[in-house]
């Protein structure tokens, strides 16, 4: 009995000790990434301020979340006078965890604006993977506005239009042409569970285990375990189907309400807002956005110009994958947007200055 207990103790000690060392290895090497998001009762999820991590997708990201909870340099909420502050909002394309911050369009745009002068420019990255227009708008009102940006660029495609579906986070709906936000998720069992596990979330091993769990949930287990054998018996099962792009849709009232609210902000004179078409949006949306006074900038000419130069703007040779914008795309987009931002919010004393 004593021998069994001794063996079990030794086994347990070795297992725990080895797992501790592996956790350390994963964190230091970047082979595993502890969660860099936290549950938030207003936002649903938010970046964990001060988190530092390595992230691999099609590309590679080495960086972190600044102390104010967004990506890139830590510009404080209080803006110095004479500074042009630009906020970028969008999904994973703006979040940009495929490349270092110094290659991001944020940095390119900032450098271009500083080069063009005469003002000092600060460009802030509020991108967050999975954000749709509803979450972008909500984040804008709850977080971004506190940093007093002069310009806010909303990067959207048709697939980013808000949907009032269920999810872990705020739920949006249009009520009497206004946006209503339902924060009842903060009372849900799922939210409470995530709060209890918030320390565990900071383990790289937990993140790995969670990724495994999510893949099993998605139904990916048989394909991963059986590889080609699975494909032999289920040909075509693992291929993705393309998303359709539509015109007006079921969520038109909600998105209309969001654009109306942004138009009010735009007309206030405190901030200039523009929509950047990262992927085509329907003509109906485009016309409406322009009709409420918000400019729409199309990125397609940027991508066409890159294609003409023989550059594939979403190809990543390191991983051999196609996906988010690569180095060339970020550089081209940043350079393209710089004069447009200057036009949108010209320096004081220049024509078009809203404060004249």
């Amino acid at each position: 009995m004593r021998r069994i207990a001794k063996s079990m103790f030794g086994f347990g000690l070795a297992f725990v000790g080895a797992m501790v060392l592996l956790e350390l290895f994963l964190r230091l090497s970047g082979a595993g990434t502890p969660s860099f998001v936290i549950s938030d009762p207003r936002l649903g999820v938010a970046f964990r301020p001060g988190a530092n991590f390595v992230f691999f997708t099609e590309g590679m990201y080495l960086g972190g979340v600044n102390k104010y909870g967004y990506l890139g340099p830590a510009y404080p909420p209080k803006k110095e006078s004479g500074v042009l502050r630009v906020a970028l909002l969008g999904d994973s394309f703006i979040e940009g965890f495929q490349l270092f911050d110094r290659f991001h369009l944020r940095t390119v745009l900032e450098n271009e604006l500083n080069r063009m002068g005469p003002r000092h420019a600060e460009v802030m990255n509020f991108g967050y993977s999975g954000f749709d227009l509803g979450l972008m708008y909500y984040h804008f009102t709850e977080v971004v506005e506190k940093f007093s940006p002069d310009v806010a660029l909303f990067f959207v495609g048709q697939d980013d239009m808000a949907e009032n579906g269920e999810g872990f986070g705020p739920i949006f709906s249009a009520v009497n042409d206004s946006v209503r936000v339902d924060l009842s998720f903060a009372q849900s069992a799922r939210y409470k569970r995530s709060m209890k596990l918030r320390l565990v979330h900071r383990l790289a091993l937990y993140s790995m285990a969670r990724n495994v769990y999510l893949r099993v949930q998605e139904g990916g287990a048989p394909g991963i375990l059986l590889g080609k054998v699975y494909d032999w018996f289920h040909p075509g099962a693992r291929k993705e189907t393309p998303e359709p792009v539509g015109g007006k849709d079921n969520f038109w009232p909600l998105n209309k309400a969001i654009f109306d609210a942004l138009a009010v902000e735009n007309r206030s004179g405190k901030i200039r807002i523009a929509v950047v078409e990262k992927r085509p949006i329907s003509a109906a949306y485009r016309e409406y956005i322009r009709s409420v006074g918000i400019p729409v900038y199309d990125l397609q000419p940027v991508f066409d110009a890159l294609k003409q130069r023989g550059i594939r703007y979403n190809y990543w040779p390191g991983s051999g994958s196609i996906g988010h914008w690569n180095f060339n795309a970020h550089e081209a987009i940043g350079e393209y947007l710089a004069p447009l931002v200057n036009e949108l919010a010209p320096p004081p004393g220049k024509p078009g200055d809203a404060k004249q």
Binding site: M8, G10, A18, F25, A31, F56, M208, L226
Partner: protein, 475 residues
């Protein structure tokens, strides 16, 4: 079928128990079928090449042994050489030479692009052709008698643990084991488990994870700073070692579970104190093959010092070409040939140092200095091995040499240090215990706890990430 995949683990869980349960003769039949299934899993069309190579060498060896006429013997040897090297030349090198020739012809206004063939490189062809060649050459030299059992010979060629990336086993070592396949003992099973665990950890947790940094940086070097490029190069040296030595460990461990002993292929090469010793520790099966079937037939060191250096250089040049159809691999081989020639010149009649002979701090510091120096020249050669072309290699080299301090990231330094320490811990464990299955040196209760931790993280990583193929599969 990748070793670092769940389907391989399932395959092993089916094959090993069945193989152990079957009597000897049906066991060999079963293992041959399993080996062909393993190889055909990649692409069933290449089974025909494996089969043809097997038949030709079986017949050629028997024909060589059946006659005393030197001309007939030579003819059958040439048949074996021509068929194996012909296969290799066609599938691996045809387009390389055609494209190189076409680039030269283009300068004279001639377009030879039409000669380029649409060929897929069969996995493992460089390994099994060298393996079967060694068999016919050894029979020709009278070192061994040919086998009269086609089934056993076919299993020797196609034995799945070492089929696609070595070790390149000599028939003298592996064929008798195949012909007298024994049941594994408890010690074999323990050792097999230890080797597979260490191998999978090296390959999946060290090799694959640090390889991601390498792939991204080498695919776009112009975007990165001097320190980031140097980090990528250092990480590549760890990746290729972890990847290949991990594979060899898994191969040896798997064979052990079947009662077969495969040769060691790596012996802590980055702890070598000089380049000659490095090549006695790195890819041992290939370096000994090149020594026995290329360097010595060229004359070895028997025809004077100058010819020795030429033979060394030529052998390593061809060794580089074996690795891949690209002039960067040839250059890599040439660099190592040059290093070896210079070292041979420096050594004169002395033997190269081997293990550390600790006599005090000075001896340790000298050893560390020699190991570091050897590592640095090997690292320089790795730059050409990894780069897709000379432009990339020289760009990176220039950027590292003309060091610019900008873009230095302490985070990158920590990453490199972490992988280096992890690799060093594994290597030192092997070096000190003189045993690749060093986990067996711990008490079982601790060992099983460590195994469980290792396999937990290995499985989790395999589940969430796309399996990266072994680097040497492309050779």
């Amino acid at each position: 079928m990748l070793f670092n995949s769940f389907i391989f683990i399932i395959f092993l869980c089916v094959v090993v128990p069945l193989a152990l349960w079957l009597p000897r003769r049906p066991r060999n039949v079963f293992l041959l079928i399993a080996s062909y299934f393993f190889y055909g899993y990649w692409d069933w069309r290449f089974l025909s090449l494996l089969f043809v190579s097997t038949i030709i060498d079986y017949v050629a060896a028997r024909a060589i042994a059946a006659t005393d006429d030197p001309r007939r013997r030579k003819r059958f040897l040439l048949l074996s050489l021509a068929s194996n090297l012909g296969l290799l030349g066609t599938f691996k090198y045809f387009n390389f030479f055609v494209d190189s020739f076409a680039r030269v012809a283009a300068h004279f206004g001639t377009n030879l692009d039409f000669l380029h063939l649409n060929i897929i490189l069969p996995v493992g062809i460089s390994f099994y052709t060298f393996q079967t060649l060694s068999y016919t050459i050894d029979v020709y030299r009278g070192k061994m008698a040919p086998t009269r059992n086609l089934l056993n010979f076919a299993l020797y060629v196609a034995f799945f643990p070492q089929l696609v990336a070595g070790p390149i086993e000599r028939a003298i070592h592996l064929l008798p084991q195949v012909e007298n396949m024994r049941r594994p003992s408890r010690a074999d099973l323990s050792e097999g488990m230890a080797l597979i665990t260490v191998g999978m950890f090296r390959k999946v947790i060290i090799g694959d994870t640090c390889g991601r940094y390498v792939d991204h940086i080498f695919s776009g070097p112009t975007y990165y700073s001097s320190s980031e490029l140097l980090s990528a190069l250092l990480l590549f040296s760890l990746q290729i070692y972890a990847d290949f030595s991990g594979y060899s460990s898994i191969a040896r461990g798997t064979a052990r579970l079947l009662g077969v002993d495969l040769m060691e292929n790596f012996n802590q090469p980055y702890l070598a104190a000089n380049i000659t010793e490095f090549w006695r520790r790195w890819h041992i099966s290939l370096s000994t093959w090149l020594r026995d079937y290329l360097y010595i037939p060229l004359g070895g060191n028997r025809k004077g010092p100058k010819r020795t250096y030429v033979n060394l250089f030529a052998t390593m040049l061809l060794g580089g070409l074996w690795h891949g159809a690209n002039w960067t691999f040839v250059f890599w081989g040439g660099l190592h040939g040059g290093y070896l020639a210079v070292h041979k010149f420096m050594l004169k009649a002395r033997k190269p140092d081997e293990r550390l002979n600790y006599t005090g701090l000075a001896s340790l510091l000298t050893f560390v200095a020699k190991v570091t120096g050897t590592y640095l020249i090997v690292l320089l050669a790795w730059l050409f091995f990894r780069s897709r072309d000379f432009t990339t290699a020289f760009y990176i080299l220039k950027k590292i040499v003309a060091w610019s301090p900008g873009g230095f990231s302490a985070r990158f330094a920590v990453i490199v240090l972490t992988y280096s320490v992890a690799n060093l811990v594994l290597d030192l464990s092997e070096y000190v215990t003189r045993d690749h299955a060093f986990p067996l040196r711990t008490a079982p209760r601790f060992r099983w706890g460590i195994y469980l931790a290792a396999w937990t993280i290995i499985f989790m990583y395999m589940f969430q990430a796309k399996p990266m193929p072994f680097i040497y599969f492309q050779f």
